[in-house]
């Protein structure tokens, strides 16, 4: 049962990437209230408070969603499309965090309303930089509209 508000929803099936992302966030002390899901279907359940997460308050939206594109069951793009297509969740900032440099993915992401698109660099230092940038920007600078 999750009562506490969630700051960050990380949708990532690769556990190594999960850990690296979490470590990167931790480096900048962004560690509280991070919830990790490993496939697109669970991500949607969580966001829309359905299935396993039906007891969650849908109005208690995460402050940011970090979304991998290549996910089991439901793809990242599908998740993005649903989140940005629903009144209740549209305002949640979504940052696509992916290995793909494919232009098509980038174009589709922006078409569905992604807030930021970041290609995960192999270089760990650069990765940390990227995570720091989005973390700081979206967590600290960007004010979500008040409910």
């Amino acid at each position: 049962m999750m009562i506490e508000p969630i700051d960050i929803l990380l949708v990532e099936d690769n556990t190594a990437d999960q850990e690296l992302t979490l470590k990167a966030l931790k480096k900048y002390n962004i560690t509280n209230n991070i919830f990790v899901v490993e496939d697109g279907a669970e991500a949607l359940d969580f966001i829309f408070a359905e299935g396993e997460h039906s007891s969650r308050d849908i109005h208690n939206n995460p402050k940011i969603i970090l979304l991998d594109l290549k996910l089991p069951k439901v793809s990242g793009l599908e998740v993005l499309k649903k989140v940005k297509g629903d009144e209740r969740t549209r305002s949640i900032p979504v940052v696509v965090l992916t290995s793909s440099r494919e232009e098509r993915d980038l174009i589709d992401s922006y078409k569905y309303g992604v807030n930021s698109y970041i290609v995960k660099p192999v270089d760990f230092n650069k990765f940390i930089e990227s995570v720091k940038d989005i973390g700081l920007y979206w967590m600290l600078l960007n004010q979500l509209p008040k409910r």
């Binding site: 690769n14 190594a16 990437d17 690296l20 470590k23 594109l69 290549k70 992916t98 290995s99 793909s100 440099r101 494919e102 232009e103 995960k120 660099p121 192999v122 270089d123 760990f124 230092n125 990765f127």
Partner: protein, 698 residues
Amino acid sequence: MNNKKVPIINRKNSDFAPYKTLFEKNPQPMWVYDLESLCFLTVNNAAIESYGYSKDEFLKMTIKDIRPKEDISKLLENISVNRDIYQRSGVWRHLKKDGNIILVEISSHSITFKRKKARLVVIHDVTKREMDSETIRYLASIVESSDDAILGKDLNGIITSWNKGAERVYGYTKEEILGSSILKLFSKENTNELPYIVERIKRGEIIEHYQTVRVRKDGQNIIVSTSISPIKNETGTIVGASAIARDISEKIKAESEISRLFELEKSARLKAEKVQQRLSFLSDASKILSSSLDYEKTLASVANIAIPFLGDWCAIDLINSSEKFNRVAVVHMDPEKVKFVYELRERLPNIQNIFSGINEVIKSGKPLLIPKVTEEFLASFNNIEVVKILLELGLTSIMLVPLRTREKVFGIISLVMAESNRHYDKSDLALAEELATRAAIAIDNSKLFKEAQLLNSELEKRVKIRTEQLETANKELETFSYSVSHDLKAPLRAIEGFTKLLLEDHAKELTEEAQRLLNVVTTNTRNMAQLIEDLLAFSRVSRIQMTKIKFDMTRLVNQVFTELQVLENGRVFEFKLEELSPVNCDPSLLRQVWVNLISNAMKFTRPRKISEIKIGCELKNEEVVYFIKDNGVGFDMRYSQNLFGVFQRLHKAKDFEGTGVGLALVQRIINRHGGRVWAEAKLNEGAAIYFSLLKEKI
């Protein structure tokens, strides 16, 4: 008359009364004229009657008045010269009162009349006599001068007269031939003509324009047209015959030459007409043959135009793959007969076994011509039923012409004459062969065309399948590269990330060597990540859609150079950029080309104090050739073929970093634009890379 009478005149008139009567009534015209004045002193009745003047008129005239003017001088001369007592003065012309001239023979005596010296003149009118002999002379000269041979002969055939024409026609002179038999002129074959001619002449008949052969003196035969008439004496008895003959040898020769020439002309004209007919027939046939690719239909049309021009029947059979005959056409003007032949065909399916000629034609590939269907020919059929049918059809002439392509006979055109009772000759056969050749070529063409069509559709099918396969493969490749970019990089990131975490968070626990080894891991991981990125870029180039436009190439190159220069801190570049001609091409791909080429140039000039890079272009016929030259380390041209291969490198990694994808990528982009890439270089003396793009092509 004698001279004794002269004194009597001087006697008394009464004594001379009987003489006076003798004078007056004498049937011959007589007169006395004065020798001095030439006046008539007296005239007798006969003179008055003959000349038309009255006695009084005479007595007022002189003898000059009855002469034509032109004769007067001769008259006066005669009078002055001749003073004989009796004188015959010959034939004179006298003028009658009515203006007619008569011919007279004059005799005169000197007398004294009424005391005047005078002459008694007796006139004898010889006009008729003179005219008759004139006519004879005239006719004789006509006969003599005639071109035709005119001869006379007696009833025994002895030649009695012979004109100049006869001399010319027969070659004998008058002296040679007179007294000879007419048979001398007959050829041996014609001697029997004589009794027949003589018989008719004796009966008083005239033989007119009778054409026969005669022999000249020189032995040459001539053709004469002769007319023979009987000659009668004064009492009307037939005593001989006259023959008029004309040499018509030349005429006949000329006539036969004319008719020969006429025949020649006629046959030439017929020949020309026939040739014309044949040509137009062949041209019609060719038109039909080229009009359709359905050759069975085409052959049927050819058979149709062959009839009736080339026969009464035309049948076309094709030999199918199992060596069986397939009749594609039978044509006859009468559809009932066509039906009959088809029925016959069903009754006798193995016609080639009955008529061996068909097999010969197939085997030898040579045509068969039977100009005339004879009984022997019919007997060669070993089937009595067939013979009956052939007799019933009334075949007169047959041609069998093979249809063949290259080596093989694949059919036969049978042309048959029947009720029109014509017969084929070699020229007909030649025409039929020509027709067969054209038909065969047309069929061959249509077969080839059909095969080509089949191959074409087969090819299209294959292309379609291949295209589908290619599309599938392309999709798979896309999926593959997607997962490569995604999945292959994730473990690398993990290796890199965790190695970094080890080095940062656990540095104290690691020896220096352990740290160095972990750094090697990190470097290699990054290299691999770069390789993956390049590979993805490489495959992306082939997949993305190109948008070709014309843009400012010089500006693009300048931008790229400036951007890349920033990354090369502290280096000195001497960059020469010429004006670059724009062409239709994809700007983002060309940007990639220039990035790769310029960064290569910068990389390989790194050992130089001053890096010289020159970019320009040359206009060739159809294309623009761009180049980039540098003063870098260059390369050995022996390895130039490796230059554009993926992951091919001519330098060691520790000298010059890189994955070996750059130029491969350049080549792929330029090739997609229809251009070429090549390089010129020398080891340590710089390199030049050229690429061409097509002008004005979308």
